[in-house]
């Protein structure tokens, strides 16, 4: 198994781009959160790739920490979605403007 590093990095960039498009285009908060998970995963892929290229496991540690932060982010984001839904039937992120001054 030996693919060039650039292949992995290009794949990571493509995945990151797909995630960004998901965040920008979709208005469903659940799918936006899933797109953010895609972003985390793309970044992790780049980290693991470079860790492998330089045989240095600092990248693995960093990717592990990113996974933990992603878990915390998903939990809090989903809690916010659930609360928003409880307060009003529409959960379109453009309609949620209660925090606006």
């Amino acid at each position: 198994m030996s693919a060039p590093v650039d292949n992995y990095i290009a794949l990571s960039a493509v995945l990151f781009f797909i995630g960004v498009v998901g965040v920008i285009v979709r208005r469903n908060p659940l799918i936006m959160l899933m797109s953010i998970e895609l972003l985390f995963n793309a970044a992790n892929l780049a980290l693991v790739t470079y860790a492998r290229a330089w045989v240095n496991n600092a990248g693995h540690i960093f990717a592990f920490l990113v996974i933990t932060v992603a878990a915390a982010e998903a939990a809090i984001g989903l809690a916010i979605v659930a609360v928003t839904f409880r307060r009003s039937p529409r959960v379109d992120v453009d309609e949620v403007a209660t925090l606006k001054g």
């Binding site: 908060p29 799918i31 998970e37 895609l38 693991v48 045989v55 992603a70 809690a79 529409r90």
Partner: protein
């Protein structure tokens, strides 16, 4: 090399399916395929422990959380309504900009770095080979002990935050309940005083 291409096609296809699916449940399925393919990709990069963590934490915990919230939101009296799900006006320029940035990244990556991921430490049967649990654990608990502890703190903050946000009555619920309890307690206190 063939494995890389199969996995990358699977990754991109499932990611696209995830962001284009009409219903969040289908998105979750796409995301599941994406996570598992990514775990396989980690295995090709000799990150064994991370591959297992990917499946346990992402597919096991985070996706179940998503499915749980989707089930919670669609089980009520009201249907789960997200409105027209129309893209904001800024979407088109943003996507164009994103395509340009993507092109720059890909072209730079292909031009600048012809290095090939070489196989090292493979098939040696060494417990401390690169990416193994032993190797990872040693790095995590010696060199990176402080980040590890901070991570534990972050998780605790997240748990407290989730309980506070999505607790019984939503924001302010804690305060309201305390007031109610105080009101309930008053007559009892009066009675106690009367007895004395």
């Amino acid at each position: 090399m063939i494995g890389f291409w199969i996995l990358s096609i699977l990754l991109i296809a499932s990611a696209v399916f995830c962001i284009t699916a009409k219903k969040p449940v289908y998105s979750v399925v796409g995301l599941l395929v994406n996570f598992i393919a990514l775990a396989a990709m980690y295995l090709t990069l000799q990150a064994e422990f991370l591959a297992v963590m990917q499946i346990v934490v992402y597919s096991g915990a985070i996706l179940i959380l998503f499915v749980f919230v989707i089930a919670l939101l669609s089980s009520g009296v009201r249907p789960f309504d997200v409105g027209p799900d129309k893209a904001p006006r800024i979407a088109i320029p943003a996507i164009l900009f994103g395509v340009a940035a993507l092109g720059i990244i890909v072209v730079t990556a292909i031009r600048s770095n012809p290095a090939v991921v070489k196989a090292t430490g493979q098939d040696t049967g060494d417990a401390f080979a690169f990416g193994s649990v032993a190797n990872f654990g040693e790095a995590l608990f010696t060199t990176n002990l402080l980040p590890f502890e901070v991570t534990a703190f972050i998780l605790m903050v997240a748990i407290v935050g989730v309980v506070l946000i999505a607790g019984d009555e939503g924001p302010g619920g804690v305060v309201r309940r305390k007031k109610k309890r105080a009101i309930e307690r008053e007559p009892i206190l009066k009675k106690e005083r009367a007895i004395r």
